[in-house]
Symmetry: C2
Amino acid sequence: MVTPCFTNRQWIYAKRPSGRVTEEHYELKETELNEPLASNEVVVKAQYISVDPYMRIQQAERQSFDPPHPLGIVQRGGAVGQIVASNSSSFNEGDYVLSYTGWQLYAKCHASELRKLDAATAPITTALGVLGMPGRTAWFGLMEAGRPKPGETVVVSGAAGAVGSLVAQFAKRAGCKVFGIAGGASKCSFLTEKLGLDGAIDYRQYQDAESLSKAIAKITNGVDVYFDNVGGMVTDAIIPNIKLRARIIICGQISQYDGGLDKPNLGPRFLQHMLFQRATIQGILARDYSHRMDEMLEIVAPWVKDKQIVFEETIVDGFENLPQALNSLFEGKNVGKLLVRV
Amino acid sequence: MVTPCFTNRQWIYAKRPSGRVTEEHYELKETELNEPLASNEVVVKAQYISVDPYMRIQQAERQSFDPPHPLGIVQRGGAVGQIVASNSSSFNEGDYVLSYTGWQLYAKCHASELRKLDAATAPITTALGVLGMPGRTAWFGLMEAGRPKPGETVVVSGAAGAVGSLVAQFAKRAGCKVFGIAGGASKCSFLTEKLGLDGAIDYRQYQDAESLSKAIAKITNGVDVYFDNVGGMVTDAIIPNIKLRARIIICGQISQYDGGLDKPNLGPRFLQHMLFQRATIQGILARDYSHRMDEMLEIVAPWVKDKQIVFEETIVDGFENLPQALNSLFEGKNVGKLLVRV
């Protein structure tokens, strides 16, 4: 019998936020992990823990794609780490794995919950980004829901983010003209200079949706595919610019998560544009494509290996900084995938 | 050479409405139609002239699915009537035809612009309703964009209208549970008693979208397909009730046509529901299915012949009443297809 003994630290989700999520909505707890491992159980020690916008959705009181995240348990989320104790023939100590063990240093898991990572093929952090959930969302969201055709115009909101920056690059590789919307000059130059997009718009330079809409019209000449991560004013500005049979993919509405999910904000009505252009809107989630992960990896992993894809990461150090890191997603500060090294 | 001589009456679209469209936006004109007919030209005398919600969209200043309807020309629209002069071997005097000759008593047309009607098979008015543009919209909108499956729950707004009343019946025939939303008790009893729907809700009994939404939740237990003719508060109330992979078809937004097309009204944001349920919205227009008219007729015409479909008509008498008849569409008074007999 294997009986591990580790001093664990956990962030317990303790209180529903009504606006921004901060440390006050969590409790930091120290526990001992010293139960014996059953057959096929292992202990994973986290090295990088993920913070993702979807976490804030699950914190709303309302049913979303899941029931609300329960209070009093470890904040759920993805992590990559190493096996530190094993009662499974599939995993040895030292193996790198992707797990969904949330915000804690150590976690006891069944072997079937883990995906083994090959650190020689790609950095292990990519399993939480370009070769993980955000990459899968970007790939299938764009290619299947968006159906981009060469020469079409694709606009991506939240274009410097974990998903958006990949969508933008996948769209370029699909032969499209690609424009990114982001907040701030440095993100915009990242989009045009590092990602090679055809243009970028800093939405913060515009007072309202109408003036932003005019700027988008001018630079794009109409939008065939709009990949939306943010909602709100940016989306208000883009929709009047859609072209005939445009496809709008709703991947996120990050501008609304602070409070608009339980009590929606008001915005201009726009369904008439769907009619005028016989356009479609489709909501997508990463989980809809989980069973097709290998299909994405087969195409995208070689691009990562050959450095044909930029996958920027913002790394925050320190387990204690997890709540603040999550909050910072809604401040729009990070570029690419945000991770906490623990 | 055939030279007809008719005293024509025409409603000229003269002024863009900013709210409701009334007589003041039109000029009634009397002209002589006495030019010679070229080869394959005919003269049609209208008997029934159509008024349809889409006309109000074209009157907006903004580009919609068409450029704005020009000022100073006959109001465009469908009509059924008889050939009264012919220089075409395809048409004889007395033949019934469907034409797109607008609001005028007589019109010179090329034979290729007309569809011959067989008055023995179905009443000629059906060419403007169940066996015409509204029928095509209802059929393909529901069956192709909506993809209803037996046992699913379909909700139709504007359910007592020309398109809505057909969608509701087609959905019943597809094996769905069908609920209609309409304004007023008599429309609601039309829906349950004459059309045999599973339920009807009079939206006028509700002060706001929230209370209407609760009523819809209670009666439907969630919505798989929402066929929307009206937009506004009714749509606000339905969207939070959509189920996983729901399909929303945008066929009309009649609540917004009075003024909301040039300057959109505000409404609650709802794109998060598309994400939560991985739902789709698709805008449709009758014209997208014009080339498939025969396919619809093959299925629906026998139902009409065998009286298996209710196709209510509201007939207004008098050419002079056309503008008022169009306006009345936005007052929600008529049941089924509204026509003006001239």
